[in-house]
Amino acid sequence: MLTILYDGIAYGMLLFVLACGLSVTLGLMNFINLAHGAFAMAGGYCTVFLVNRLGLPFALGLPIAFLVTALIGGLFERTLYVHVYARSHLDQVLFTIGLVFMSVAAVDYTMGSSQQFVQIPEALQGQFEVDGIGMGKYRLLIIVICGLLTVALQLILAKTRFGSRLRAAVDDQRVARGLGINVGAVFGITFAFGSGLAGLGGALGAEILGLDPTFPLKYMIYFLIVVTVGGTSSITGPFFASILLGIGDVAGKYYVPKLGAFVIYAIMIIVLIWRPQGLFARGAAR
């Protein structure tokens, strides 16, 4: 029981790191990015390549995965995404689904369709026991890293100048422009950073989520659930949504193994109908 809670929290925190970039893109530019998972996948494969093929230590693989994906994200944002911001939601959906298809096929072509595993250090394998409850060491690492990241994110948003600009831009783009904030640049940086986080999440999560070319499709709905259920007005919303989703998914798969995902989708639909702005949105009552 507590193991499920533990695993669920680890899973949820992972989802949060994966999806929080998406939440900002959606909130800031009202942009539907279905290709977010592709960046996560890029991070995962990057780590596989660095650690398994080049023999780099795992601890080094993670930050590099972050940087590489952030770079890719930034590049895509500047060259491709900027053209699509002002388009209709349908165009955004088509565009990003196209990117997903391309990434899936490209990864399949270069890395093969089989599932990949990152070689994690001995020290992180296995379990330890607290009060007779088995807890995976690797999951503890995930909780620690993701927890730290969450705190850091919260601090960046709340305390730094960039954070306040970002919040201003999220609240009202026009006003932010009026205040002399370069919304385009803020968005570019945020997009790159969010992609980087997704990449880091993909690298960390390869072990738990499984890494194969269909990753962006498989987890697309999960990221979207985090964002829509959590709302886009803060990062605490997506955070709690992630944790709930993580615990719910792990518990669902444990207790009703054959209906696990069904429960998640059903809950998502109910929440979206009940509170279309998200469970944790401010003033969701309009």
Binding site: V84, H89, V93, I97, I273
Partner: protein, 347 residues
């Protein structure tokens, strides 16, 4: 200039007349039965895809609802058609087809209330969620559906008790084509009716539509239901002509591909889904010969490029080609009384 009622009536009705282009299109479509005897399987798949895309066009092109969940109705009716045939509940395919369409429409009606709330993104999520849920259910009740192995042992009786689905797919294709045509005529009729006009008004300006007395919600519910029914008929056709149904009928890829099909052909003029299906199947055939297994990459690229170029601009070109064709058609019609092979240029 003054208006008079006869002229107004004539003008309003004129739009609904079958243009030479359309007539040529359908003549060609039926001519394929004799023109490409070795290609029945791909032709049949194209016809089913075309019907499926037509169903999406009704809600996307005419009511502006973005859906990633048309597969829900396709798959639901597909399994329904398979199950009623397998257990001998409804043996005659045409009756089973109609029932499949109705049951999909019923599902569409029920889920429409979930879908029609909220923003584009919520709609996207809810439509997708519904189809994924059905997929999970089909997986869960594998004792009925066959789970991951697919629904096996389906035996389809001859259509109308006479035409058995043969190995070459000839009867299957003719059956699908006729169903496609009938469904198309129904959809076309709906589009040119006052009901269809009110849908266009809702898509054009929802605020104003409500302000002139259009019950927006009910009209959307109605078209969503019809669209679900057509998608269901497409799904049932697939099951009947392959005597098989598997879990991938519910997949996200199916709905996403469908969007692509419709986008290639263009939305909001009914032929988009049909032309898109032809191009898509052609591309798929060609690309998967070129780079087997990775053709999805090119499909993705097509989507990205279409968006970057801009759909409006593409639609502009299509409109020019179309008006040229129509003019060509009107020029040809009186000259060629026995018009047989004026092929509409699919590309």
């Amino acid at each position: 200039m003054t208006a008079n009622a006869d002229e107004v009536a004539r003008y309003l009705k004129r739009r609904a007349r079958w243009s030479p282009f359309e007539i040529a299109f359908w003549i060609f479509a039926f001519a394929t039965i004799w023109l490409f005897p070795g290609k029945y399987l791909i032709l049949k798949d194209t016809a089913i895809l075309a019907l499926f895309a037509l169903s999406l066009d009704l809600i996307l092109g005419y009511a502006g609802i973005i859906s990633l969940g048309q597969a829900a109705f396709f798959g639901f009716a597909g399994y329904f058609a398979g199950l009623v045939a397998k257990y001998g509940i409804i043996n005659e395919p045409v009756i089973a087809l109609v029932c499949s369409g109705l049951i999909a429409a019923a599902l569409g009606f029920v889920t429409s209330f979930l879908v029609l709330r909220g923003s584009d993104l919520t709609r996207l999520m809810v439509t997708l969620g519904v189809s994924l849920m059905l997929g999970e259910l089909a997986n869960r009740y594998s004792n009925i559906t066959g789970g991951a192995d697919g629904l096996q042992g389906v035996e389809i009786e001859p259509v109308l008790g006479r035409f058995r689905f043969d190995l070459f797919g000839h009867n299957g294709y003719v059956y699908c084509l006729i169903v496609l045509f009938i469904c198309f005529v129904i959809a076309r009729r709906i589009i040119y009716s006052p009901f269809g006009l009110s849908l266009r008004s809702i898509k054009g300006n929802t605020l104003r539509a409500a302000a002139i007395g259009v019950p927006v919600k009910w009209r959307l519910v109605a078209i969503y239901t019809v669209s679900a029914g057509l998608a269901g008929i497409a799904g049932a056709l697939l099951t009947q002509t392959t005597a098989f149904c598997s879990l991938d009928v519910f997949s996200l890829e199916r709905s996403a591909d469908l969007l692509l099909v419709l986008i290639i052909g263009g939305t909001g003029y009914l032929y988009g889904g049909l032309i898109g299906a032809v191009i898509y199947k052609f591309l798929q055939d060609w690309l998967s010969n070129l780079t087997p297994q990775y053709w999805q990459f090119w499909i993705g690229l097509v989507l990205v490029v279409i968006v970057l170029i801009g759909r409006e601009r593409m639609a502009g070109w299509v409109r020019i080609v179309r008006s040229l064709l129509v003019r060509l058609g009107t020029w040809l019609m009186p000259r060629l009384p026995a018009l047989g092979g004026a092929a509409p240029d699919g590309r």
